[in-house]
Amino acid sequence: MTVENQSDNATIGVFSRLQPLLARVSQGAMTLLAVSLLIFLAARALPGDVANMILGQSATQEQLDLLRTQLGLDQPLWWQYLVWLGGILRGDWGTSLSNGQPVADLLALGVRNSATLSGVALAIMLPLSLLVGVIAAQFRDGFVDKVFLGMSMVANAVPDFVTGTVLVALFATTVLHVLPAVSFIPPGDSPFSYPDALVLPATTVIIPGVMYLARLVRVAVIDVMATEYIQTAELKGLSPSRILFRHALPNAVAPIIPAASLVAAFTVGGVVVVEYLFAYPGVGSALVDAVTNRDLPVIQANVLVIASAYFIFNLIADSLAQRDETAGQRPSKT
């Protein structure tokens, strides 16, 4: 019986792992470029004239034309796109049409608030899913498990804004009055200074996330517990906790991680609705406001940020899935 040569595999391993990552990053950059073009065109396709909106109905044709020239709206579309893109690459996101502030400043506020909300939600969602999933798997087909499965079906079928509205009715307006229905956070303040304003929006994001991920965890744990290596661990006389934490969970979590990253991506995207519902001052509500005002630079910037966040989490999901495939694979068959 010979021992296979490992050093060859190791060197090949570094390249074969880095190369697809680089490929994916450059591919992602291309995707974002295409996305930026789409965003730009979509924003321009919004009904209503920007100059009209800013100056109001009483403006004269000369005033409108002047403003259009100032904003560069009389230039050809492709030129406007290139100017905008070039600005972003130089760090200049333009100025808001509605209040004249630099878009970058508005964006920084929104991104911090949204990142805080998503971060808090994910930090609670991921461990909670694991816990709920494992408990459901342990009591497989029992009462706890059936209750969980029923609840998760309901939670996943109901849209976020309904969940949010029900939570508001329960905890803020109709039944109890313990939490604010609207998350008022003054611009420039950290959301952590207003923890009660975070609770309902975060919970609205967490509930469907946990209900979805915990189902995956449940199935993964059940599958792993049925494998021969768990049987072997039992026959080795190991304790139930060691079997669960050292033998079962690492194997059960591996297939979940890519799914969890995707859920994280959805959370970042889905935060738009929740922020709007609670008037939480983040990227999402900023986007909704900007669309109402036809504030093109702000719309474009916000959508680009959301798309990038989505893209980054997807990239993480893909790389983790890739790592799972390559890791621990049998070397060449000899």
């Binding site: 290596y229 026959l235 006389g237």
Partner: protein, 601 residues
């Protein structure tokens, strides 16, 4: 001598009350090895697990007692049971690839059940690795199971079982998935451990040839019952139960081509056993008295569950050698020919200048270990491997290298049968639909598809009524027959058989070999890929021995196997397990039984 294992009246039931094993008793003295043999579904694995007080989901140990050393395994509370499994009795599973946790390092896997400090554990792990013939350095301890070969994995599984020096070790088909030479090495290791550590072991297998090479006692299981139990030599010499006789007859011999006698019918499913003697519906010797279930009773040196134990004396001599096509003069016109075949995976060359020919009515066996390139060769011939150079000829006419370039006629003339019928038959199609799909490529048969399918099923011994069943409703042997029928439907000239018997029980293998032989007699050409030389002896007319992608020896089967000239062929032959009695009769190379192995070391 101290009794290490005493199991009595062990009964395991399904939750609906149907018994999987019934009233099984075993007893082992220190240092003895007991073989448990039976076909799939005989309850032997359930028995093995029950000895560790373990029952699979939906199954429970309903009665009996298991005493290992001074521990009553079935009477323990959960914590004491875990302690007993860590220290008193250990288990080695069939497939180490599935039984070793892929996320844990070898060091963790070996030492996690041990008490003591880290340094002490590492020392123990190194000791045990040396003992089972693996590297003992830190880098190796940090490896994970999937970085090892199958043989290495099984060594780890064995090391894991013996590291705590248990009183009893239970091996559940530990060599079934391994190829011949790896199997011989792992068996060697087990024998060696039994001697050096005076291990007491239970060895479960479906293959009497394997059991005969490691065990001093044997328990023959059928339908969840012990049908015969006693000293190995005694049972090999005079098998008293017809089922034991049948199992012996199904083992192919390396020495001569024999009429393999498959056991008709199939193992009864749980809860479907006949009322009387459990084997009576498949037994050629059944009489009126067999309608009441016989008890185990002592006859000679063995316990037998048969009303006619005197049969042992009348079974007569071993199966007759059949020479029906053995040594038949080579037919000059090859139906399929390959010249100078080179095949690659990426830049790695797998096959080097391989040339061979398949003649009508004759079988060419391609023999080699895992990784010798034999499966690649058969895939090249069927045209599924693209990265290949060389020349193929079918009926004397050039044959394109890949299946995409071949015409319909050529595709029909060559048919492929895969190793694993569970994977090669579409589980969502009925048998009939699977066969009809193969027929779709034969326009001339369109007029009477039903008749063609029925004919093919009849030919492989399957009732055409089963055409409406799904593969999952058939036994493993039946599925492989259906796969063969699917090939026959296309009216082929050559069958390419890739390890078609290696996933089957010995008794089922016998029936498939008999079927393939009859197809040869019909004039089909056959290429039979295998690592089992005893199977080769029983089916092949010519043999090509493949090692590291090259043909190292080629010729008539009886010459190659009788007087092997290449060292590689010789080692393959030496590693092929045989029933020891035959080897003694015929004075041929054979793995020495346990006692003499100790002497030669």
């Amino acid at each position: 001598m101290t009794t290490v294992l005493k199991a009595s009246g062990l009964t395991v039931e399904r939750s609906d009350g149907a018994s999987i094993i019934e009233d099984v008793s075993l007893s082992l003295e220190r240092g003895e090895v007991m073989g448990i043999v039976g076909e799939s579904g005989s309850g032997k694995s359930t028995l093995a697990l029950a000895l560790l007080a373990y029952a699979r989901h939906g199954v429970r140990i309903a009665g009996g007692a298991v005493r290992v050393a001074d521990t009553d395994m079935l009477e323990l509370d959960p914590a004491s049971l875990r302690k007993a499994r860590r220290e008193v009795v250990a288990y080695v599973a069939q497939d180490p690839g599935a039984a070793l946790n892929p996320m844990l390092t070898l060091g963790t896997l070996l030492t996690e059940g041990l008490a003591g400090g880290k340094a002490e554990k590492v020392t123990r792990a190194r000791e045990i690795l040396r003992k089972v013939g693996l590297p003992d350095d830190e880098a190796f301890l940090q490896r994970r199971p999937r970085q090892l070969s199958g043989g290495q994995q099984q060594r780890i599984a064995i090391a894991m079982a013996v590291i705590a020096q248990p009183k009893l070790i239970i091996l559940d088909e530990p060599t079934t998935g391994l190829d011949v030479s790896t199997r011989a090495k792992v068996l060697d290791l087990i024998r060696q451990l039994c001697i050096s550590d005076n291990l007491t072991a239970i060895y479960v297998s479906h293959d009497l040839a394997v059991i005969a090479n490691v065990a001093d006692h044997v328990t023959v299981m059928y339908g969840g019952q012990v049908v015969e139990q006693g000293p190995m030599q005694e049972i090999l010499a005079t098998p008293r139960h017809p089922y034991t006789r049948a199992l012996l007859d199904a083992v192919p011999s390396l020495q001569a081509r024999q009429a393999l006698r498959p056991i008709r019918g199939r193992v009864p499913a749980v809860g479907e056993a006949p009322d009387g003697c459990i084997f009576s519906d498949r037994c050629d010797y059944a009489v009126e008295a067999c309608n009441t279930r016989p008890a185990l009773r002592l006859v000679g040196g063995t316990q037998v569950r048969c009303v006619r134990p005197e049969l042992g004396e009348t079974f007569g001599v071993r199966p007759q050698a059949v020479g029906h096509s053995d040594g038949q003069v080579a037919n000059s016109s090859a139906v399929l020919q390959a010249n100078g075949v080179n095949a690659f995976y990426g830049y790695r060359q797998i096959l080097f200048d391989v040339s061979l020919k398949v003649e009508p009515g004759r079988c060419l066996a391609v023999v080699g270990e895992s990784g010798s390139g034999k499966s690649t060769l058969s895939r090249c011939l069927i045209g599924l491997h693209g990265n290949v150079t060389g020349e193929f000829r079918l009926d004397g006419k050039p044959l394109p290298l890949t299946v995409g370039q071949r015409d319909q006629y050529a595709r029909q003339r060559l048919q492929y049968i895969f190793q694993n019928p569970n994977a090669s038959l579409n589980p969502r199609r009925t048998i009939g639909a699977s066969l009809a799909a193969a027929l779709a490529n034969r326009p001339e048969a369109d007029s009477r598809p039903g008749a063609v399918i029925a004919e093919a099923l009849e030919r492989v011994g399957i009732s055409p009524d089963l055409g409406t069943r799904y593969p999952a409703e058939l036994s493993g042997g039946q599925r492989q027959r259906v796969a063969i029928a699917r090939a026959l439907v296309a009216n082929p000239a050559v069958l390419l058989c890739d390890e078609v018997t290696s996933s089957l029980d010995v008794s089922v293998q016998a029936s498939v070999i008999e079927l393939l032989r009859s197809l040869l007699a019909d004039g089909l050409g056959m290429l039979f890929v295998t690592h089992d030389l005893a199977v080769v002896r029983n089916i092949a007319d010519t043999v090509a021995v493949l090692s590291a992608g090259r043909v190292v020896e080629q010729g008539e089967a009886h010459k190659v196997l009788g007087t092997p000239s290449h060292p590689y062929t010789q080692s393959l032959l030496a590693n092929t397990l045989q029933l020891p009695t035959e080897a003694a009769d015929l004075d041929m190379p054979v793995i020495a039984p346990r006692q003499s192995a100790a002497g030669s070391r």
